[in-house]
Amino acid sequence: FRTVEPLEYYRRFLKENCRPDGRELGEFRATTVNIGKTGSITTADGSALVKLGNTTVICGVKAELAAPAADSANKGYIVPNVELPSLCSERFRSGPPGEEAQAASQFIADVIENSQMIVKEDLCIANGKLAWVLYCDIICLDYDGNLLDASVFALLAALKNVQLPSVVINEETGLSEVNLKQKTPLIIRKHPVATSFAIFDDTLLIVDPTAEEEDLATGTVTIVTDEEGRLCSVHKPGGSPLTGAKLQDCITRAITRHKEVKKLIDKVIKSITPK
């Protein structure tokens, strides 16, 4: 029945206000996060692995040096890149990034920009000459819905883990000397957290959709909030119409979710810092 009439199968569950995997409509899947050297990338400057139920996303941050752009001499760069390789789901083919990967990369770039999580001036070493470039590669290892939430979370966790080596510019030669022994952590000003909802049949809103639910949904909404309860991003790419009240409902739930996620990240960071 499930493969023949997936929508009807789902409707029966939704009528009882629950979902096939036993969750409530407003319940999130179990979230686990692994930061830094434990189980993540050792060659990267910062890394994190996030699992939201079955959706697995890994983020690696590499810091490199470059000359800042001519028109913004005191700003560094952050370059996020979301990849959805064909190993994560049969819906993605190998080859140039598809629309979903590009839209996700743009979304992550917007979130970083809007939330001012990393101020680009902090990444500058010498005005007009040298600045840090942070390449953030977010790769999905297993796609089971709700990619944006997991990616934002992985990015946040990885950036909290990044340690930038100190760089000194030698006055005589004009070259930079990187001191790998002295490391300073990255200054993260805000902590944005994304919450995604799927809309069914123009009325029902469910939180944290799985891949099946996303396919059957008539629309999706993603809300990114920071710790002051300000909205960093409301991302609703089309789909069924929502009233202002429903949107408000989503935002309130997003703010609650933010608190939970923040607690989780703080707990994990605390458990790895005494080194």
């Binding site: 743009q106 920009e113 909205l231």
Partner: protein, 188 residues
């Protein structure tokens, strides 16, 4: 379609025969191509295309034309602010002009939130740059619900609600404009 100096040219082709790889068995496959004024389409254009496509898919009754492809091509002629809402309006008018079956109309409205919390509708490029946040909504014509929302910059929840209310009021003017231009076109 040119509000102020921003102009976008929209061309709609369809319902036409779809390639086997793209055809969907029960509805029309909608494709949106957005070409910027200069340069090749990049990641920003892709995300805009995805937003436009899903907005149009919600409105176009695709089930009446299964296994066909509808292609919407948008070319940016000039950009003086509020580009995304201009694209939305152009897309809707193109859908209307082509006579495709739609369940409702939609219009795009951009609001800029200034540093002193003043709301400016339909901002110019300078107003957008100086603003604390720029929000774009696609509002539908039947019940003034939100079809699509994008924000740039951060704002508080109350400010977002205020912008949404202002956008819904402005939507009335835009729908009136649609009616007038269509009337002019067909009243020869």
């Amino acid at each position: 379609l040119s509000p102020g100096d921003t102009s976008v040219l929209a061309g709609l082709y369809g319902p036409a025969e779809a390639k086997l790889s793209k055809e969907l068995p029960d509805r029309a496959a909608l494709e949106v191509l957005l070409r910027p004024k200069v340069g090749l389409p990049g990641v920003l254009e892709r995300s805009r295309e995805q937003q436009l496509r899903q907005t149009c898919e919600a409105v176009v009754l695709g089930v009446l034309h299964p296994r066909t492809a509808i292609t919407l091509v948008l070319q940016v002629l000039s950009d003086a602010g509020s580009l995304l809402s201009c694209c939305l309006n152009a897309a809707c008018m193109a859908l209307l002009d082509a006579g495709l079956p739609l369940c409702s109309l939609f219009c795009g409205v951009t609001c800029a939130l200034g540093a002193d919390s003043t709301i400016t509708l339909d901002p110019t490029v300078r107003q957008e740059q100086e603003a604390r946040a720029v929000l774009t909504f696609a509002i539908d014509s039947r019940e003034r619900k939100v079809l699509m929302a994008t924000t740039k910059g951060s704002c508080s929840v109350e400010e977002m609600q205020q912008c949404l209310a202002a956008a819904q009021r402005a939507a009335d003017t835009i729908f009136q404009f649609y009616r007038d231009s269509l009337r002019r076109r067909y009243s020869k």
